[in-house]
Structures are given as C-alpha cells and as structure tokens.
C-alpha cells in the first residue's frame, strides 16, 4: 500500500462518519415529517457501529499521517470512541426535545454528527492549521445548533454572541498561528516545541504567538478571562445543545489542548515553567470566578455554565501540572473529562426531561421535585453531588486523581485552591438539591395540615413540623421517557462505576496518555 492509500485507510472512520452525516442530511430530504426520528436512530446506530469499528481497526496502532499532520494513535482512538459514545447519548437525550421544541430535526442530527467529526479530528491533529480547521468544523456546527430554536430570541442572541466572540477568538488564534509560523516556519506541534527551546529563535513574536494561541484555546474551553460568552450561550442554547457544549465540545477542546501542550509546550523544558504559571493562573481564575459567580445564579443552565467554567479551572490545573514523565496529570485530565461527562450527562438528561414536561429551567422551578418525580430528583442530586466531588460517585474519584496529579506536579497550592473552590461549588449544588428535596411543591406551600415549610411560630419556643409536600396529581410529573431514562440510568451506572471501580478505564486512559507524554 502506498503512503497515500495507507493514510486514507487509517482515516476510514472519519470518512464513514462524514458519510453518515451526509446520509442523515440526504434522508432528511426524503423522510416524511413523522418519521424524522429515524434519523436519530440511524445516527446513533452509525455512531455505535463506528465506535466499535474504530476500536477493532485501530486498537494498538500508532501512526502519523501526512507528514505529521494527523496522528492515528491510542490517544486519538480513545477520544474518538469517547466522542462518538457521547454523541450517541446526546442524540438519545435530544430526540424528545427536538420533537417537541425544534424544527428541522434531520439537519440537527446531521450537524451534530459533523461536529463529532470535528472533535475526532481535533483529537488527532498534530498541526495547528489542521487543528484550526477541525476546531472550526466543531464551532460552526455549534453556532448553528445554538441558534436552532429559531423562534426563541434567547437562542438567537446566544448564537450571535457565540459566533461573534467565536470569530473574534478565531482571529486571535489565527494571528497567533501566523506569528508562530513566521518564526518556526512550520505549524507542527513538535516544531513549536523545538523553536521554543532554541534560544536564537524564541523571541517576543513567538511568545506572543503562543500566548494568542493559548487565548484562542482558552476561549474554546471557556477559561477565565475568555469565558464570558459561556453563560449566555449555555442559557440561550436549546437544552440538549447546552449539554453538548458543556460535555462534548469542552472535551474536544481539552483533547486538542492536551495534545498541543504535551507535544508543543512541555518538551520546551526551559520555557515550560513559565507556561505552567500562566496555566496555573488561568486555572485559579477560572475556578474562583466560575464557582463564585455560580453562587449568584438562578437559571439552571446558567448555573451549569458557571459551574463548567469552574470545572475548566480544574482541567487547566491539570494541564499546568503536565510534565515530561509526568503522565499522571494527563491521565487525570482525561479521567476527569470522562467522569465529568458521565456526571453532566445525568444532570442534563434529567433537566431535559424536566424541561420537556414543564418548559421550566429556573432553579426555583425544581421546588419539590423529589415529591413530584423522585427519580429525576435523585438523578440530579446524584449528579450534583458527583460534580461537587463527593463519593461514591465519579466526581470524587476523578477529582481525587486529578488533584493528586496536580499536587504531584508541584502545584500543591493549586490543588488546595481547587479543593477549596469545590467547597464553594458544593454550596450552590446544595441550593439546587435543597429546592428539590426540602422546598415544597409550589402551590402546595404552607397550609394548615402542616405540609410545606414550617408553619409560622408565635411562641418563643421552637415548634416545627417537617416540611411535607403532598403529591397532588397536578404537581406530579411523569417518569422520563424511555430514551432519557436510558441516558439517566446509563449515566448513573457510569457515575457509580467510575466512583468505585475506575481501574479498567484508567488502564485505557494510561494507554492513551502514554502516546502524548511517554513514560511516567
């Protein structure tokens, strides 16, 4: 086989994915309105098949394609499977939503599939322009998806803000790339590392270039101070898209950043400590800003946005701790991404189910949810506890691993700060849980029979009756539909499994991170 055909062969999954997306678009034209759901099933089946196929085809292979533009290795394989798996669950949780709230379902799924293709490419890009193009594929899809609720001015506004700030940051990123190119003469990650560490070439132009690059990635990750679009976009986007943004696009950007930093910055040993400080500073700012501002939120999606900014802070802390021979931090980041994805999936699926039935998305709307729909309440509560980093859920294990890696990488103070901001985050997660479990169902509030909040007291002594919300038929909600239920249950299983038995996953992660940062 010639190199070209070999290269093409190795990209088979990507081609197939693109084909799948196109197929969905095509079928959208022919399928009648009532059968559009088929497209979702086709997408999911395709993704599942592709994931399996990729594993079978690529397991154990480490190849560099097109002169180092792309890497088909365990790292990218891991992320490919991860992204496609996520895609399945995101589609699964959006079907009902799309049916109820959005038009043009076919395109929705098609675009979603393209965005996954973008992420797959991001995970295997080893060159800046390739990465940029992949990033743009993802971003374009997200801009469209954000704007998908056409009649909703919030969706519209979110998309506008997203695309303008996105384009702005793209310009910044590209400007950075151009400066790097002008010094290094190449846009390969490894060339970047070489140039950075050769004293003659490294100068203000290169540094500013890398700084701009970092800013561009920071935007994608929504790291402070490049985070401000996130709350608006999360709030305005249709709920499944918000979920997708929070879970998948973040993971995609993180995968890209991880490879870029590992291959492009870490090997430049002389300057890497400076970058570590920058990353640590970004991490600290993200954790604090995200978690502190989240305290003041009332909208669930916005809350999740700020919370995700906080989580990005943790990821960045992990990136700051990357080191040659320090694969633990890379493991930690990947592990964190997976655990965070599983957890967020549970929360978002439950929220989608709630939204589908009530059309509400304020925190206060959740009041009494534990009485109205215990399963949803339990799922959200478990998800939030997990996000706050409490055992026996994934959140605890991933945080412990990541922070241990951060500490081990020499940033004990940063780990401490991360743990502290987890404490802050616990407060607002608990506020949500409080709404669901302690507050009464709205409308059934305090009455004479001792239901609801404590009755007013007149005596100087204490007397109270436990809050009790009656389960009236009007207030009760249905259990989630089969698809959302499946997502919730699968997510819960994953959250618990990662919480108590992460061993097998960590082995896979180690294989992946070995590629970008060999040796521990």
């Amino acid at each position: 086989m010639s190199t070209v055909t070999e290269n093409l062969y190795l990209l088979t999954p990507e081609f197939l994915l693109a084909a799948l997306a196109l197929l969905v678009f095509a079928l959208d034209l022919v399928l009648p309105e009532s059968r559009k759901t088929w497209l979702a099933w086709i997408g999911m089946a395709g993704l599942t098949a592709l994931a399996i196929f990729s594993v079978r085809m690529l397991a154990g292979r480490t190849e560099s394609l097109y002169g180092g533009l792309l890497a088909v290795d365990q790292f990218s394989l891991f992320f490919k499977v991860f992204f496609m798996g996520l895609g399945v669950f995101i589609i699964l949780s959006s079907v009902d939503f799309v049916k109820q709230h959005l038009s043009h379902p076919g395109e929705f799924y098609g675009i979603l599939l393209f965005s996954i293709l973008g992420m797959n490419m991001m995970a295997q890009a080893r060159e800046l322009v390739t990465a940029y193009i992949a990033l743009e594929l993802l971003s374009f899809s997200l801009y469209v998806l954000t704007a998908y609720a056409r009649g909703n001015p919030k969706s519209n506004e979110a998309a506008l803000k997203y695309i303008i700030i996105g384009a702005f940051s793209t310009a910044v990123l590209l400007y950075g790339i151009s400066m790097i190119y002008s010094v290094a003469g190449s846009t390969h990650f490894d060339a970047l590392a070489e140039t950075l560490s050769s004293p003659g070439q490294a100068g203000p132009v290169l540094w500013v270039g890398v700084a701009f690059l970092v800013a561009g990635l920071g935007f994608k990750l929504a790291a402070v101070p490049f985070h401000m679009w996130a709350p608006d976009v999360y709030e305005g986007a249709p709920l499944p898209v918000t979920a997708y943004l929070a879970i998948a696009s973040k993971a995609g950007a993180a995968a890209l950043a991880l490879r870029l930093i590992s291959e492009g910055l870490v090997p430049a040993r002389e300057v890497w400590p400076h970058w570590q400080i920058i990353l640590a500073a970004l991490a600290a700012a993200s954790m604090l800003v995200g978690n502190l501002v989240a305290l003041a939120q009332r909208n669930l999606k916005r809350l999740m946005a700020y919370s995700s900014i906080g989580h990005v802070g943790y990821l960045l802390a992990g990136m700051a701790a990357l080191n040659i021979g320090g694969g633990m931090a890379a493991n930690g980041i990947i592990f964190y991404l997976v655990g965070y994805a599983a957890t967020s999936l549970v929360v978002f699926a439950a929220l989608i189910s709630f939204f589908n039935q009530t059309g509400q998305e304020e925190i206060a709307d959740l009041a009494g949810l534990a009485d109205r729909q215990p399963l949803l309440a339990a799922a959200i509560a478990i998800g939030l506890f997990s996000l706050a980093g409490l055992p026996i859920f994934a959140g605890f294990t991933i945080k412990f691993y990541l922070f241990a890696a951060v500490a081990q990488g020499g940033f004990l103070w940063l780990a401490g700060l991360a743990i502290f901001s987890s404490l802050i985050s616990l407060y607002y997660y608990l506020q949500v849980i409080r709404q669901m479990y302690i507050q009464p169902v709205p409308g059934t509030a305090p009455d004479a029979s001792g239901h609801g909040e404590e009755p007013s007291h007149t005596a100087s002594h204490g007397q109270a009756v436990a809050g009790h919300a009656s389960e009236t038929a009007a207030a009760a909600l249905r259990t989630p539909t089969g698809m959302l239920l499946a997502v919730v249950v699968a997510g819960l299983v994953a959250v618990l499994a990662l919480g108590v038995y992460p061993g097998p996953l960590l082995e896979a992660i180690e294989r992946a991170s070995q590629v970008i940062l060999p040796g521990i």
Binding site: A381, I392, Q408, L412, G416, I438, E454, A466, G503
Partner: protein, 507 residues
C-alpha cells in the same frame, strides 16, 4: 475453608459492604408500604451489628496490631490505592460502637413516616461510610468513606429535620443542614490537601502510595521532614477537628442537632463526631508524628476550651437539643484533650470516651427525640414534670445525664478519669481546668433534670405517652452498656490499650 474462616477473612469488607449494599437494596422496597423499608433496614443493621460484635470479639488484644486484614487491589502505580482493611485496638471498639448505634438508630427511626425509604437508604449509607473510615488502612479510602459519611447528612437533616424559632433567632433545617455540610466539607478540604501533601512527599521519597501503613513507616524513617509535618499536621488537626467539634469550629454541631431528626442526631453525635477524633489519631498522629508532637500543646489548649466553653454554653441553653449539642462539644473536648496528651492513659481514655460518649449521647437523643415526637417541643423552660407521664424516659435520661456528668459506675467516668490522668501528667494546669469543667457539667445536667423531668406535672403534658417498647428496648440496652462499661471497662480497655500502645510507640 469453612464458613467461619470465610466470615473472618471478609468481616471487615462485609461490614462496609453490608450497609451500602443494604442502602441500594432498600431503594427497591415498596413505596406503598413504608414499613418494609424499616424492616429491611433493621435486618441490615442487625447484620452489621452482628458483624461488628464479631469483629470486636475476634480482635486478639494479646497479639495487637492490625487484624482481620485484607487487601483488594484497586489502582496501581502511580497512585497505589488499595482497599486495604484492618482494625487495631483503637478501631475495633469504634466499629462496635457504630454497629450498636446504627442498629439503635434504625430501630427508633420507626417514627419516620414520610419518604421513609429514602431515609433508610441515606441512613445506611451514612453507617457504611462510618464503618469504612474505621476499618480502612488507605488514605484515599479513608477520605472516601469519610466524605461518604458526611454526604447523606445534608438530606437527612434537610428533609426530615425540623426548623425552630427561638424568638430572637431562627434555626431552619436548611440552615442547619447547609452549615453542617459546608463545615464538614470545609474540614475535608484541609484533610484532602494534607493527604495530597503526604502523597507528594511519598512520591519524592520514591514510593508514591496512599497506603497508611507504608506512609507511617516512611514517617518513622524520616522521609517526611519535620518542617513538612509541622504544617501538614494542623491541616489534619483542624480538618478532622471540625468533625470532632473542635472549638472554634464547633457551631455546626449544636445547630445540626437542633435541626436533625432523632436517628440522625444519634449517629451525628454518636459516631460522626468520633470520626473526627479518630482521624486525628489515625491520620494526624500516625502519619505526621513529629507534627503532632509539635502541635499537641495547641490542641490540648483548644480541647480545654472545648470542655469549658461547651459546658458553659450548655448551661444557658433553653432547648434540650442545644443542651445536649453543646454538651457533646464539651465532651468531645475531653476526647481531644486525651488525644493531645500523647500519654497512654490519656489517649486510651480518649478512645474510651469516644465509645462512652457515643452511647450516652445517642441515648439522650433517643429520649429527646421521643419527647419531641410527643410534645412537639424541646424547650426546657416549658417542659416540666415529665416524670409523671414519661417515667421510663425520665429514668433513662437521668442515667444518661449522670453518665454525662461523669458519675462513677457509668462509662463516662472511667474515660474521663483516664483523660484527666493523662492530662495531669502532661499538662497539669489544663487538667485542673478540665476537672473543673466536669463540675460545670453537673450544673447544667441537674438543672435540666430538675426543670424538665422533675417538678410539678403540667396539665399541658398530660397527654404524653411513655416510651414505646422499641424505644424502651433501645434505651435500656444503651443504659446497660453504659453501666457495663462503667463497672467493668476492662474488655474494652484491654483492646484499646493495645492499640494505643502501638500508636504511641513513635512518640
């Protein structure tokens, strides 16, 4: 391998697994018949009680050290986290304590009618977490179970608790639950940092691990420099101290009690606060001995403040639960003091005090809960003459009160006496203050007894019924334990002495 050896080898694993698995299974009991959940929880907690007794009895105090050990590989290099189990002479009595209190707590939780299924799920999970902390030998899992024990508290208090208006201020259950949770997790922030610091140090020493035995060896070998230990130990001291009610980080505890339902208060004061003290011993003293040595004068000072401050605060409280809550703060002060003496008798006394106070305070909460269930009030200025209607409750409360003020013949005395003894040897002036604190305890306990239980019968309380048979049984059993330990503490002490002796070897 016969059944017995099989149990023996897996007893520690089972005792952690049983409540957690029980919690999961409880979820599948019928929603329509809440009693099912209760019955199932009784079954589970009875199993854990049996296991805890088995573990305690099985512990060979002559041999000492860690026993019933077992290791489940979990994560390899570079974390080296393993579910490593084992109890020593300090943990074994506490396992027993938790077994007893969990069982008692589940029994008296019969009165929980609303969402009882969820309640037992959380309660069992809490119990499982506590067992976990007592039996693991791995820092990660210790922390894991520690947090697991904390987590359910929020909902247990928030959902099933009660809000109270005290006239000048209010204490809602939300406030109590939130404060408790944030305090405890804030404490765990410090613990976590401390754990990571040790791990990093172990890494630098070439053997990254979370295994506590290995870390303890490294500490003894001098792999953890004194400077490191000096700043890591206070993290553990304050982090775990929060849970132990260490002044000035104690305010979550009384407020938590005021809001919590009975069974939760029992576990909260009975075992959860002991986790804190246990953590200081197990993690702080074992892994950072030099730091412990340097900081103990501070700790014992704080412990003394705890004793006196708690006692004086309790004296002017009007709410039964506040009185007991502050009294717990005061009593935990003895535990802290005992630990801080670093003297075999003092530390042994502290461990015994954990056991004794656990039973005693659980007993008090059973009774206060029973009174509250019936009278819907806990104000000692309003309650009076309860003895007429609730003779059994009064009898049991009087014994608990007497145990609390350190009456000889009841368990509290032996423990406090040992703490005093140890403190007397090491920190004479503070010991004098602590002994005086014991007299203050008498003041508020007797005042409480005189006001609420004895005195003229008030027609308002004429409708109250005495304890139910279940409550009587639980309270009676607790009283028997108090007396048994008070009269013959040797079975507990010989186990504790072994553990304390090997703990203090490094000092």
């Amino acid at each position: 391998m016969d059944f017995f050896t099989a149990i023996e080898q897996s007893a520690l694993f089972l005792i952690v697994l049983a409540p957690i698995a029980g919690a999961l299974l409880t979820m599948f009991t019928s929603r329509e018949r809440p009693q099912d959940a209760w019955h199932f929880a009784i079954l589970v907690s009875a199993i854990t009680l049996a296991l805890s007794i088995f573990i305690f009895v099985q512990y060979d105090f002559r041999a000492g050290g860690y026993q019933l050990t077992h290791i489940f590989r979990w994560l390899g290099y570079p974390l080296d986290i393993n579910l490593s189990l084992g109890v020593d002479g300090i943990a074994a009595p506490l396992v027993l304590l938790n077994g007893i209190i969990l069982f008692g707590g589940v029994l008296v939780a019969q009165t929980i009618k609303r969402r009882s299924r969820d309640f037992f799920v959380l309660l069992l999970a809490l119990g499982g977490g506590v067992f976990g902390v007592f039996v693991v030998r791995d820092l990660f899992f210790l922390f894991f179970f520690y947090e697991l024990a904390v987590l359910p508290m929020y909902l247990l208090i928030g959902v099933w608790g009660s809000s109270t208006d005290f006239g000048t201020f209010r204490r809602t259950k939300e406030y109590g639950a939130m404060k408790l949770m944030l305090f405890l997790v804030a404490g765990s922030v410090l613990i976590w940092v401390g754990i990571l610091a040790l791990y990093v140090q172990a890494w630098k020493a070439g053997a990254p691990t979370f295994d506590m035995s290995t870390l303890a060896e490294m500490a003894q070998r001098g792999d953890f420099s004194e400077g490191l230990q000096r700043w890591v130990f206070p993290l553990f001291m304050i982090g775990f101290g929060v849970l132990a009610g260490l002044w000035p980080f104690h305010t979550w505890s009384p407020d938590g009690h005021v809001a919590a339902p009975t069974a939760v208060s029992m576990l909260h004061a009975g075992v959860l606060m002991k986790l804190g003290a246990y953590g200081i011993i197990r993690v702080g003293m074992e892994l950072t001995p030099a730091g412990a040595e340097a900081w103990m004068p501070v700790l014992i000072g704080l412990g003394t403040v705890n004793v006196l401050y708690g006692a004086f605060s309790a004296m002017s409280q009007g709410d039964l639960k506040y009185v007991i809550g502050y009294s717990s703060v005061s009593h935990m002060g003895y535990v802290i003091m005992g630990i801080a003496t670093l003297h075999p008798i003092g530390v042994g006394g502290a461990v015994l005090q954990m056991f004794s106070h656990g039973i005693m305070t659980a007993l008090m909460f059973v009774l206060v809960g029973a009174i509250y269930d019936r009278a819907h009030i806990r104000d000692i200025n309003v309650l009076n003459g309860l003895v007429k209607r609730m003779g059994a409750a009064t009898f049991f409360f009087a014994i608990a009160g007497l145990a609390s003020l350190g009456l000889p013949g009841l368990s509290g005395f032996v423990a406090e006496f040992m703490v005093f003894t140890g403190a007397f040897k090491e920190y004479l002036p503070l010991a004098v203050l602590a002994v005086a604190g014991a007299a203050v305890t008498a003041v508020y306990i007797l005042r409480l007894l005189a006001r609420s239980f004895f005195g003229e019968a008030d027609p308002r309380w004429a409708h109250l019924t005495d304890l139910s048979p279940v409550e009587k049984g639980v309270a009676g059993a607790f009283v028997l334990i108090l007396i048994a330990v008070g009269v013959w503490p040797e079975p507990l002490l010989r186990v504790i002495n072994t553990g304390v002796a090997s703990l203090l070897k490094v000092f």
